[in-house]
């Protein structure tokens, strides 16, 4: 594993995208980066005249197919950064581009799927109905919706629960439905805002293994907001460490833990995540969980965890 501040060498694993670590904008050549955040500040006005600086001087480039985690203490603006990418809030200064488009255009052309800490399933819809929601909003035909929902529920291991109601599912299962819903339109970018934050440790590790597998199978670019160091290290190609007040990225750490599920070989795909593999190709969940345990017990894993922890501490985080 290598744990380096962004300014130094680029000893990342072979298949990593070019200029993935540099804070500078991508300079032509290859496909547009999946996400490009340049010089972004975000200031929230406060009732009574003041203002809160949530983010300042944020530069972040995420290559297609890459998995990047944003980690930091509460109030460091990591969720705000994610929401900027999703065009749910607008930057005060700077620019956010997603697959070469401004964030708004990217939202309108459905370039990303998003899931929050609360699964936020609509309780009057069945599990399948919830997964179909984005498709329905975009006028996809009923039969096609059914088929896609079935596929996705198989992908997240809930094939038998299509007709259930959200209230009948455990928290972990609901969260899986939310992720399936986020993947419904085969978005090339998946934005996750502490999706496992409310789950118990066991469920959480299981979900992480599944997310790693899903990401492998769909070759989706992922940005994950988390406050769990092991989670970030386990899942990510890179971990962006943030510090609070004002929120900024203090360090970007490359993670390379052997045996860990890594990014699929990127065939320069701006249109990554074009398809979900056949159901038969899905490895058994138990296998994934077993592999995940092996990964978590490696020395390299602990070293990466230590590196992130030190970066957090250096940044003034808790």
């Amino acid at each position: 594993m290598t744990s380096t501040p962004p300014q130094t060498d680029q000893a990342a694993a072979g298949q990593a995208a070019p200029e993935q670590v540099t804070a500078a904008p991508a300079d032509g050549g290859g496909p547009a980066p999946a996400v490009e955040v340049r010089g972004v500040d975000k200031v929230f006005p406060v009732a009574g005249g003041g203002a809160t600086v949530a983010l300042t001087g944020i530069d972040l480039t995420v290559a297609p197919g890459e998995f990047v985690s944003l980690i930091g203490p509460s109030g460091c603006g990591k969720s705000t950064l994610l929401r900027l990418v999703a065009d749910l809030v607008e930057p005060t200064r700077g620019a956010v581009r997603v697959f070469g488009e401004p964030a708004r255009a990217a939202r309108q052309s459905k370039r990303y799927g998003i899931a929050f800490q609360q699964a936020g399933l609509l309780e009057w819809r069945t599990v399948a109905g919830n997964v179909e929601l984005p498709l329905q909003v975009h006028g996809v035909k009923k039969r096609e919706r059914r088929e896609r929902a079935r596929e996705l529920l198989e992908l997240v291991g809930l094939g038998d629960f299509a007709g259930h109601w959200p209230a009948q599912l455990s928290g972990g299962m609901q969260q899986r439905v939310a992720i399936a819903r986020a993947l419904a339109e085969r978005p090339p970018l998946l934005l996750l805002d502490e999706p496992f934050g409310a789950l118990d440790e066991m469920t959480r590790e299981r979900m992480q293994a599944e997310l790693a597998r899903i990401r492998l199978e769909t070759s989706t670019t992922v940005i994950l907001v988390t406050h769990s160091i092991p989670e970030a290290v386990f899942l990510s190609d890179r971990v962006a460490v943030m510090s609070p007040r004002p929120g900024r990225i203090t360090e970007i750490i490359d993670v390379d833990v052997p045996g860990r599920v890594t990014a699929p070989g990127e065939s320069g795909g701006g249109a990554g995540g074009a398809g979900v593999p056949a159901v038969s190709a899905v490895p058994a969940v138990e296998d994934a969980v077993g592999q995940a345990e092996d990964v978590r017990e490696q020395a390299a894993f602990f070293e990466a965890v230590t590196a992130v922890r030190e970066a957090l501490r250096a940044g003034g985080g808790s």
Partner: protein
């Protein structure tokens, strides 16, 4: 089954505290005429014991099965019997001078003009209305009155619900409209109906659209609608605003239009708020219809009967009690109708809710473990 109820606190809780505010708005109704107020109090009490028993909105589909229904029906009958027994018991032991504590009258007199026996009230239904050969019986008159009032109240209820829903949607869409309109919507319910009724009938009398002329019953329906729209507008507005920020952001992330958000998110989320509002609106519509009948002097309904029969109430109150009974029955019928609507809404409109698939629930729990 019970765990489904437990697992869905969000729509139920607001629903259960909902009645508080609209109930206050319905007050002017009973206050203007003691007869209908009493009658509907009874009607609503019984309604909540029987017809509307499914309780919290989203649970309307729960508790099916004939055993459960029978048990509920039996409870409703038992409640009725208990009220009758209490009435007769007091009549037996009470004093003809009423009860006083420190000189303040707190208990009613038990003589026949104040508290007739239940059987004399029922027997009066079979007697002639007036002492002529071709007079109809009181029972028939009351039934006709119920039929008239019911139709007029329902017309008002439908109009009120439509107006209420439209208002709530407009208010949910435009914050400015909500700020500007909501205070007036609340104020509208403090205008005494008694004052309003003659005005409405005065304006209405000058209306004529094509061949359609303003009818007397339309005034009554309009006033029923005036009372009925209020709980719907307020309850529905809260329902439309109930989805959390996450759900709204999710729709935004889909680049969904406002209409799509309304259709897929806000309207279904509002159903659990709409159902109790409908129940209040139904009661208000009946109250409004009866009071409007009384104050406009519209013929044919229960309100008119109450006026007519109260003339003779000083000597024999049984006829007046029959009219009050008619008001109660009208209220019950409307409440029953609303229960049917609730069932339809809970089953179909917003998708069959968890309902009765307990087997699935059990299966889930096993899987979870």
């Amino acid at each position: 089954m019970s765990r489904i109820t437990v697992d869905q606190p969000s729509p139920d809780q607001p629903a259960s505290d909902q009645p508080a505010s609209p109930a206050a708005g319905a007050d002017p109704g009973p206050g203007t005429g003691s007869g209908p107020g009493l009658g509907l109090g009874l009607a609503l009490g019984t309604a909540s014991a029987s017809a509307s028993a499914p309780g919290p909105a989203s649970g309307a589909g729960l508790g099916t099965g004939w055993g459960e229904r029978l048990r509920r029906a039996a409870l409703a009958v038992a409640a009725l019997v208990l009220v009758c027994a209490a009435w007769e018991f007091y009549k037996l032991v009470g004093s003809p001078h009423g009860g006083r504590i420190l000189g303040v009258p707190v208990l009613p007199r038990n003589d026949d003009t104040s508290m007739p026996h239940i059987w004399s009230v029922l027997a009066q239904l079979g007697h002639k209305e007036v002492n002529t050969a071709d007079s109809q019986t009181v029972g028939v008159a009351v039934l006709k009155g119920i039929w008239f009032t019911l139709r007029v109240a329902l017309a008002g209820l439908v109009a009120g619900v439509v107006v209420g829903v439209l208002l709530s949607v407009v208010m949910a869409r435009f914050k400015v409209v909500e700020r500007g309109l909501l205070p007036y919507i609340i104020a509208s319910q403090t205008v005494p109906l008694i004052a309003l009724a003659p005005l409405v009938s005065g304006w209405g009398g000058k209306l004529k659209v094509g061949s359609l002329e303003w009818q007397g019953w339309m005034t009554v329906s309009l006033i029923a609608a005036y009372l009925a729209f209020f709980p719907v507008a307020v309850g529905m507005l809260r329902g439309l605003q109930s989805p959390g920020a996450n759900a709204v952001e999710l729709m935004r992330s889909y680049a969904a239009s406002w209409w799509q958000t309304l259709l897929r998110l806000r309207l279904p989320a509002a159903v659990p708020f709409l159902l109790p509002a409908l129940r209040l609106a139904a009661a208000s519509a009946v109250i409004g219809a009866i009071v409007a009948e009384i104050s406009t002097g519209t013929d044919g309904g229960v309100g008119r009967l109450i006026i007519a029969y109260s003339q003779s109430a000083t000597s024999d109150a049984t006829k007046l009690y029959d009219a009050v009974l008619g008001a109660a029955v009208a209220g019950l019928l409307v409440a029953g109708l609303i229960s049917l609507v609730e069932l339809a809404l809970a089953r179909g409109g917003s998708g069959a809710r968890p309902a009765s698939n307990t087997q699935n629930a059990q299966k889930t729990q096993k899987v979870r473990a």
